[in-house]
């Protein structure tokens, strides 16, 4: 199967007054039709910036996408999104790629009805008349679980609870039946019970519409129940990429291993129940420095001389499984040829 999105060697920097922030340092990944790809990593690891860079949503200035490709293909069409002008890319954005943001309270315009905020992109990208867009919006509101949708079309965001607003955000994201939906921590600002409902809603819409979902999160629990594949990001690079089961059972990057050991388990028994959680010593990398070594090397127990001298590429360690590490944790020594 051909991926609908192939990102290669993407580099994004922010030129701030304090210096250059190397936010994204050569990111590679593929996204396949209809799949759910989880992107995990700590704050500042480049999860959101990666996705925003693809569709020219990072603030410019100070941000700038300085290299790489993002090939978006559907049907016969294939285009490098990073080469498009703002006027061309904006039709991809909203039309082909939808967004759900973290905070549904501040992400909706307080002075516009929710109906018109959803209908807006339909008239823009699908060429709908106002009345067509209205009836499609009412249908969509019903589909995302907002009761009495005919009347709610004219409601304002402040009439809705956080969970309901996130449903509206989801309706906005899928309004034009995009190929890809990028969900940037959509459950972080919500109650735990509401989180589960939102996850279920996105899954259901994904099945209905066959849309690929990129789920940006730092909640590894959500990832396990949701994703087909996982990208682990660190210091503006992808350090591990694997199908979700492989990642949890057989992590190959020392950072991923450390992350998984830091999660408390409710089902732990015996000795494991009283065991202390492990922490990853050290601090995240300084993004003002240009990346010339493995970003994780200063915190890594396995680091050897090569790790300090060059940036490891994503090395294939299994079926669809890549790890950006010179050390073979399975064999317990430097990888062959390292």
């Amino acid at each position: 199967m051909e991926p609908i999105l192939q990102v290669r060697d993407m580099v994004t920097r922010f030129y701030s007054v304090d210096g250059v922030v190397h936010a994204i340092n050569g990111v590679n990944f593929d996204l396949y039709e209809g799949e759910t790809l989880a992107v995990v990593g700590e704050s500042g690891s480049g999860k959101s910036v990666t996705m925003m860079s693809i569709v020219n949503l990072i603030p410019q200035p100070p941000g700038k996408v300085e290299g790489g490709q993002a090939i978006f293909s559907y049907g016969e069409m294939a285009q490098d999104l990073l080469q498009l002008s703002e006027d061309e890319i904006r039709h991809v954005r909203g039309g082909q790629i939808g967004f759900i943001f973290q905070d549904p309270i501040s992400s909706l315009n307080p002075t516009m009805t929710i109906g018109s905020q959803i209908a807006e992109s339909m008239t823009e990208h699908l060429g709908f008349s106002a009345s067509e867009a209205r009836s499609k919006t009412v249908e969509l509101l019903r589909n995302v679980g907002i009761p009495d949708s005919e009347r709610r079309f004219n409601a304002y965001p402040h009439h809705f609870s956080g969970g309901m607003r996130q449903r509206v955000m989801i309706a906005i994201a899928v309004a034009c039946r995009p190929k890809i939906v990028i969900a940037d921590e959509p459950t972080t600002a919500l109650d735990v019970t509401v989180q589960a409902q939102i996850v279920d809603l996105v899954k259901r819409l994904q099945e209905q519409m066959g849309v690929a979902v990129v789920w940006i999160t730092h909640d590894l629990g959500v990832v396990a129940g949701l994703a087909d594949r996982v990208l682990v990001m660190y210091g503006g690079t992808v350090v591990e990429s694997a199908p979700v089961d492989n990642l949890y059972e057989d992590p190959r990057h020392p950072y991923t291993i450390g992350l998984l050991k830091a999660i408390p388990r409710l089902d732990a028994t015996g000795e494991a129940e009283t065991e202390e959680l492990e922490v990853i010593e050290g601090v995240p990398p300084d993004l003002y420095q240009e990346l010339t070594l493995c970003p994780f090397a200063p915190r890594c127990g396995y680091a050897f001389d090569r790790c300090w001298a060059e940036v490891p590429p994503l090395i294939e360690v299994g079926v669809q499984h890549g790890a950006a590490c010179f050390y073979d944790v399975e064999r317990g020594g430097p990888r062959n040829g390292s």
Binding site: S106, N109, E120
Partner: protein, 306 residues
């Protein structure tokens, strides 16, 4: 919405009553206004006759009720100087003042909002620098000085516009620029900062993520939210322009209310001063009420609370 409107109308009526009381009692602070209105050297019999004619010898409460009832009938008393009803004089001058204030305000709004939005959307650009300069000069240059300079350059040296009166259609240009320049400065600054702030809101990012054009984002999302901040200031500026055009009307001999007020104060024409003060307060209160209605129309959050 209706309840909100009703509350605001009732509040405004009370405010108007307050103004009435202040206007009435200010003239009577010394006890008997006769001494304010009649020349010092006038003989005692003449004073007594005046007091009798004006009804100042009656109890205060009767005088006040009479004053209030008169206003309800549209009777503000007669001007001492012009010897005709104050209301007539005011209504005669009112259109000129409204015209001048409205032209000044529209000029300020159109220029300020255009520059403010374009500048705020492109910080650091040439238009942005222009906006910041206008903001600074608009708020620091006194309007009477600007009026004299405008007369010097555009009326005396270049001869493009008349320097006084309201005889031709372009007579309004110089006084309107002089009067509206300060408001323009304030509005440019306000628009610019509102746009700068709103550009960084999450919902603008959402609008961008929907792929709608820059122009629509500006018009629908940024401007509508920015106008919340502008509406109240525009209304304050308008009442300021209506009531505060005394210098400008005097400098340009503009036949308006400000000019009349200046004459009335000069001539100790108290009934006229009272009537003008009441009228200007009435407009300010009416404008504030309209502003609140406009607010409620723009911001749905106000409409439903309260």
């Amino acid at each position: 919405m209706q309840r909100y409107l009703l509350t605001r109308v009732v509040q405004s009526l009370f405010l108007l009553l307050g103004v009435l009381i202040v206007v009435f009692f200010l003239v009577r602070l010394t006890g008997d206004p006769t001494s304010l209105m009649v020349a010092k050297e006038a003989p005692a019999e003449q004073r007594e006759a005046f007091r009798e004619a004006m009804g100042f010898n009656r109890p205060l409460i009767v005088q006040f009720l009479d004053f209030g009832a008169g206003i309800l009938r549209g009777d503000f008393g007669d001007s001492l100087h012009f010897r005709q009803p104050a209301l007539e004089l005011i209504l005669e001058r009112l259109p000129a003042t409204f015209y001048l204030a409205t032209v000044a305000l529209l000029l300020a709004i159109v220029i300020a909002i255009t520059i403010g939005i374009i500048g705020g959307s492109n910080p650091g650009s040439a238009i942005d620098s222009l906006g910041r300069a206008l903001g600074l000069f608009g708020q620091t240059i006194p309007n009477f000085w600007l009026a004299l300079i405008l007369i010097l350059i555009f009326a005396v040296n270049l001869g493009w516009f008349p320097s006084f009166g309201r005889d031709t259609s372009i007579s309004v240009v110089l006084p309107a620029v002089a009067l509206g320049f300060g408001s323009m400065g304030q509005l440019v600054r306000l628009t610019r900062s509102a746009v700068l702030e709103i550009r960084n809101e999450d919902y603008i990012r959402t609008a961008r993520s929907k792929g709608i054009s820059q122009f629509k984002i500006g018009a629908r999302h940024v401007f509508r939210n920015a106008s919340l901040a502008l509406v109240s200031v525009i209304s304050i500026q308008y009442s300021y322009l209506l009531g505060g055009s005394i210098y400008i009307e005097t400098i340009f001999s503009w036949p308006g209310l400000g000019n009349l007020l200046q004459q009335a104060v000069d001539g100790r024409d108290f009934p006229l001063v009272q009537a003008i003060a009441f009228f200007i307060s009435f407009f300010v209160i009416a404008l504030t009420l309209l502003t609140d209605v406009a607010y409620a129309l723009i911001d749905p959050r106000i409409r439903y609370s309260s």
